[in-house]
Amino acid sequence: MGDLRTTATADDGPQRRDLILVERAQAGDLTAFNDLVLCYQDQLYGLVARMVPDPDQAADVVQEAFFSAYRNLGAFRGGSVKSWLSRIAINAAMDIQRARKRRPVQPYPELEDDSWQPPAGEEADPERQVLTGERVRVLTAALAAIGDDQRAAIVLFDIEGFDYAEIAEMAGVSLGTVKSRIHRGRLALRRGLVDRMELFRG
């Protein structure tokens, strides 16, 4: 196997670090793999939680994604470790979503969960906090209601900050398809929020 580090640019610190960890993990160093887990578990959980609304299921998906990554360390051919892990997590989340559609359960449990509270900002007053919480609730619900592909594209682009090319590579589709999914997804979101748009204006 070639040196994975050659695929990273010199000024890409996290990428170099990731590739070194992957190489060590490929050589059988579990600690190195767990270092990667520590680096990305928050980000992957945040990503999957947008795709799989049930927190327990989302956690299972992330765990499965890391298991899968460990099993397939040998198949990693360089490039962005973050993209590679995200792709595995997205695929696992999509599988769960497909299974959920075949066997529907409670549509969006945390919307019914009163214990959930939006994160408090430093200058947040109670009124603003309520408004922010309501905005998060309706937007999350609208996001859950659009198509899986569109949601994945929007989450990866708007929330996770991947660019079009990275998403295209992850999803195995063309750049145009990614753009189309994002634009149509946003239009679908707006249709879903038609009665609550005042929350987002101004």
Binding site: L30, F33, N34, V37, L38, Q41, D42, L44, Y45, G46, A49, R50, P55, D56, A58, A59, V62, Q63, F66, F67, S68, Y70, R71, N72, G74, A75, R77, P118, P119, R135, V136, L139, T140, L143, I154, D158, I159, K179, S180, I182, H183, R184, R186, L187, L189, R190, L193, V194, M197, E198, F200, R201
Partner: protein, 278 residues
């Protein structure tokens, strides 16, 4: 409460969405900006989409509820060994060509099977197509044979009409096996065939299958198999052996087609299993 104003149906919402995302080339952007300037609903749509983009980007991250680090036991369980490693190779992106290969093999296999089956289907279609041509003749015999049928069933020597003589073995074939071949039949080859065609003819019913039908049934049987019997081996005794038609082995095309099909399906299954284990 400000209500959503719908854009005009002829206004391209996707164009506005692309404008809001800044994805338009210069020329398209000029067109989209002109649209937004002229259409308040389009301007509202652009503003709403930008608000949604900002709100989506600002969604709080969900808080992780567990630690996903792997234990030594997890690692030992997940480490690929033996057949899993071999299987895992089929999921390797470098072996992506196996998918179109498997598709091609399955397609070839199915095509081969169809080609193999076609010759045996075409005579069957031909014979069923010939039946209507015989039908008027059958109709002409119809009433007389309908009454002659049961009468022939009782009598041992159906000497009156050849058709009636052919009916008898049909019924005997139902009653007991093996049926005695009628001695009164005209030709040896023909005399051997009613036994083979007896069941289909008889299953249609004696009144609904007049002698003309039996003749067609005999013709079908003669069309499908007896020609080699008559030409290749004139001995009637051998031609009436029950397993004489099955001595021919399957054709090479059939075998090759089956092999291609099995290999193709096998490749599909391997890829599927590799993805499952991954």
């Amino acid at each position: 409460m400000p209500r959503l104003v719908h854009t005009r149906p002829d206004h391209d919402e996707t164009l506005i969405a692309r404008l809001a995302a800044g994805d338009l080339a210069e020329r398209e952007a000029v067109e989209a900006n002109a649209l937004v300037a002229a259409c308040p609903a389009c301007a509202q749509l652009r503003a709403d989409l930008r608000s949604i983009m900002a709100a989506t980007a600002g969604l709080p991250a969900a808080r992780r509820t567990r630690d996903f680090r792997l234990t030594d036991a997890d690692a030992a369980r997940l480490r690929q060994s033996g057949w899993r490693r071999v299987l895992g190779r089929f999921g390797d992106p470098r072996l992506a060509f196996t998918k179109p290969l498997a598709t091609g093999l399955v397609a070839l296999g199915i095509a081969g099977l169809v080609l193999t089956a076609a010759p045996s289907l075409i005579p069957a279609i031909g014979s069923s197509g010939a039946a209507p041509a015989q039908a008027p003749l059958a109709g002409a015999y119809g009433p007389a044979q309908a009454t002659a049928g049961p009468a022939g069933f009782g009598s041992d020597s159906g000497g009156a009409a050849p058709g009636a003589g052919n009916l008898e073995p049909s019924f005997r074939a139902i009653q007991s096996a093996p049926p005695p071949l009628p001695a009164a039949s005209a030709a040896p080859a023909a005399s051997s065939e009613p036994a083979a065609s007896a069941l289909p003819a008889a299953s249609a019913g004696p009144s609904s299958a007049p002698p003309a039908d039996l003749g067609v049934g005999g013709g079908t049987a003669a069309g499908s198999s007896p020609a080699p019997v008559v030409e290749g081996n004139p001995s009637v005794g051998k031609s009436t052996e029950p397993g004489s038609e099955q001595t021919e082995g399957p054709s090479a095309l059939l075998l090759v087609s089956l092999a291609l099909l099995v290999v193709g399906v096998g490749l599909f299954l391997l890829r599927w299993a590799a993805r499952r284990t991954a």
